[in-house]
């Protein structure tokens, strides 16, 4: 193997890591919600989609009222998107899932599919069905290697990696070190007992939805800035791939979600780079089906025992 091949592999690895970091960020939402109330939040991918629109709108609004420094614009866009999606996440849980707590098993999932249809169609009606675009904010790339053989990472991609790292570390501290984290873990282990011991489990559930939405918003903001193009349909496929990541890592486990995200991202990047681009979604869905059939507990999860 010569150096040229190594650079190509390295480039695919970088692309895969960046892609995987976004999957991991979105997977956090699936994983935490599943860990706490045992449902698949099918509308989570749509929150990611909404966050892409909010980001582009905020950036356009800043440009409309006269420019700001790029760094400030990105920060404002990120914070505002997080705020809006946090409200949306809270609202969805409050309206569509909370009343179904004691309903039959499939009810929350069906309701979630309904929410996902609503969000997609709402955005389509409000913003139009066309493909949207947004200007590049940070020009420039970081290049490793020589003139002809090199691998590169753009500043936007670097931003995604840094954001993923920072938010994962802060989430780890939040769950591991704070009082909220403790009540969160208690609710995950035994919701009834946690309630008896005076933990407001309803509040914990609400906050978990908010955290999931905020993480999806972080991914949505930076990916939109990186790609610059999106439509109202992106939430579906990205959501399923992020869910694949959550399952691969072991649903309910936070490091697992990030690990699964990175693995899915790298696998997808290598598959589309070296095998076939047309079938990359088939490949991702194939991974999903295979993991769920062979090892549904994932890499870092605990196997579920069927109880009578």
């Amino acid at each position: 193997m010569n150096a040229f091949d190594l650079y190509i592999i390295g480039q695919q690895l970088i692309n895969g890591l960046v892609l995987g970091a976004t999957y991991g960020l979105i997977a956090i939402g699936y994983s935490m919600v599943y860990g706490i109330i045992g449902m698949i939040n099918f509308a989570h991918g749509e929150i990611y989609m909404v966050s892409a629109y909010v980001t582009a709108l905020v950036i356009a609004l800043i440009a409309y009222f006269g420019g700001l420094p790029v760094g400030a614009a990105i920060m404002i866009a990120l914070l505002f998107t997080m705020l809006i999606t946090a409200i949306l996440g809270w609202l969805i849980e409050r309206v569509a899932y909370r009343p179904l707590k004691n309903s039959f098993r499939l009810a929350p999932l069906i309701s979630a599919i309904g929410v996902s249809l609503i969000l997609q169609n709402f955005i389509q009606l409000a913003q139009g069905a066309r493909n949207q675009a947004m200007p590049t904010l940070l020009e420039g790339v970081l290049r490793i290697g020589g003139e002809e053989q090199f691998m590169q990472i753009s500043y936007h991609q670097l931003l995604i990696l840094v954001a993923a790292l920072v938010s994962m570390l802060s989430l780890n501290t939040l769950i591991g070190k704070t009082k909220f984290g403790r009540s969160c873990r208690a609710t995950q282990q035994d919701p009834v007992m946690a309630e008896i011991l005076g933990i407001n489990t309803q509040k914990v559930i609400s906050l978990v939805f908010v955290i999931g939405a905020v993480f999806a918003a972080i991914a949505g903001t930076f990916v939109t800035m990186n790609y610059g193009s999106f439509d109202f349909y992106i939430g579906f496929v990205t959501g399923i791939k992020a869910f694949t990541a959550a399952v691969l890592g072991g649903i309910g486990s936070l490091p697992g979600a990030m690990l699964g995200g990175l693995l899915v991202g790298i696998a997808e990047s290598f598959f589309s780079g070296f095998v076939n681009t047309d079938y990359k979604d088939v490949f991702a869905f194939g991974i999903l089906v295979l993991i769920l059939i062979i090892k549904p507990s994932g890499l870092l999860g605990h196997p579920e025992v069927e109880k009578v």
Binding site: I84, L100, A133
Partner: protein
């Protein structure tokens, strides 16, 4: 009725309004148009205000009222069995007469709407066996529909088989796919099963979309026109054989083909509806229902859970496959965009709306959900929004659906 707490009412109204504004303003007040921005400050006010009004009305008007009504009438519920049975028979006969007359009374357009209704009834009944009776949430149901339609497309363009010979073959192929999917997912439950089936359905669609040599990819496939066992419906003979309107000495009409197709689908739908209605009463259907309620108990009682679940998957899939063939025969052109996840969600919405496990409810819901968008053409943009809202509201307010399925009960004496 007690008086309305005015202060709380206003507080709730304002809170709802502000929250709705927080969501609607960023997403509706500003519209992206390329890199440009259009500002429409009054657009979000309408949905935000209406949401606040609806919520306040519901919380302080409707809910106390309904609770009062319910308390009054809750205790006295009288069974009127003989009357309802007679009524049901009358309604059934009237419906059959009406549906038989549809092809001869209405225009070509409404005839095609009728065919579409029947296709969705078939799909919903098929999914009802899997989701309603067996309790296995299948989100990739549209995959089997696609398999049926593409079996027709591929067989007719590569081997020249016609509608009638493809019909049983498509049912078999789709059932095969159903078993193929069913085997690995037998161990799974609830949510995971739903996601695997979703992945399966998407894989089928993506393969159809990308395997250009076989399926034509996004360009789709042409389907040959329907024949009456080889006799053509066209005005002039293409292959030199006798023509339908000459053979039966009728006026030539372009509608004849659709009339026949309608009647064939109607016959098949009646058969499927009968099976679906009988299923909870026969042994295999009852074991299906029992498996849904408690799998471990059933297995310990010796019910063959593998065979029963596979039967549910295979029969649901073959019904969808046949529906796919009908769809192809009606459209005469198929491509992968007809088989997206949205279609699966729509069929699921029909089943949920009609009532999981209820044959009558599912049929009514399918007719309503297919015919209503045709009647309300002006609001067709809001169709998906409406479906989504219906799914959420039904789950919260009436999870058993419009027509609740009653199961026969047995008592020991």
């Amino acid at each position: 009725m007690s008086h309305i707490p005015f202060k709380k009412c206003v507080k709730d109204f304002l809170a709802t309004f502000l929250l709705a504004c927080a969501i609607f303003y960023p997403l509706m007040g500003f519209v992206l148009n390329g890199f440009e921005l259009e500002i429409k400050p009054y657009r979000p006010l309408v949905p935000a205000l209406s949401m606040a009004v609806i919520r306040t009305f519901f919380l302080y008007g409707l809910q106390p009222f309904l609770q009062n009504q319910w308390q009054k009438s809750g205790a006295q519920r009288v069974e009127k069995k003989e009357k309802t049975a007679l009524l049901a028979i009358v309604i059934l006969i009237a419906t059959i007469c009406f549906t038989l007359m549809v092809p001869f009374l209405f225009s070509n357009y409404w005839l095609n709407v009728g065919i579409l209704c029947l296709i969705y009834i078939l799909l919903a009944l098929g999914l009802n066996i899997v989701v309603g009776y067996a309790g296995l949430l299948d989100l990739g149901f549209v995959g089997f529909y696609a398999v049926g339609a593409y079996t027709f497309g591929i067989l007719s363009s590569y081997t020249g088989l016609g509608f009638w010979s493809v019909l049983p073959l498509a049912a078999l192929v789709a059932a095969g796919f159903g078993i193929l999917l069913g085997f690995p997912v037998l161990r799974m439950h609830g949510d995971y099963l739903a996601i695997v089936t979703l992945g399966f359905g998407e894989i089928i669609r993506l393969i159809l979309n990308n395997w250009t040599e076989l399926t034509g990819g996004p360009n789709g496939m042409r389907i040959p026109p329907l024949t009456f066992f080889g006799i053509e419906f066209t005005r002039r003979s293409k292959y030199g054989g006798p023509l339908f309107h000459e053979l039966f000495s009728l006026e030539y009409s372009s509608a004849t083909r659709f009339q026949l197709l309608y009647l064939v689908i109607l016959a098949f739908t009646c058969l499927v509806a009968y099976i679906s209605w009988r299923l909870p009463k026969i042994a295999i259907g009852r074991s299906l229902l029992a498996l849904r309620e408690d799998e471990i108990a059933c297995r310990s009682l010796g019910i063959n859970h593998v065979g029963t679940k596979l039967m549910a998957f295979a029969s649901g899939a073959s019904i969808a496959g046949v529906a796919g063939v009908f769809f192809g025969a009606q459209q005469r052109f198929i491509n992968p965009t007809s088989f997206t996840f949205f279609e699966s969600a729509l069929i699921l919405a029909i089943v949920v709306l009609g009532g999981l496990g209820s044959t009558v409810g599912v049929i009514i819901a399918a007719v309503v959900m297919t015919a209503l968008p045709e009647l309300l053409r002006d609001f067709s943009e809001y169709r998906v929004l409406l479906f989504g809202l219906l799914m959420v509201i039904m789950m919260i307010a009436k999870p058993q659906g419009l027509v609740r399925q009653k199961y026969s009960q047995y008592t020991f004496e």
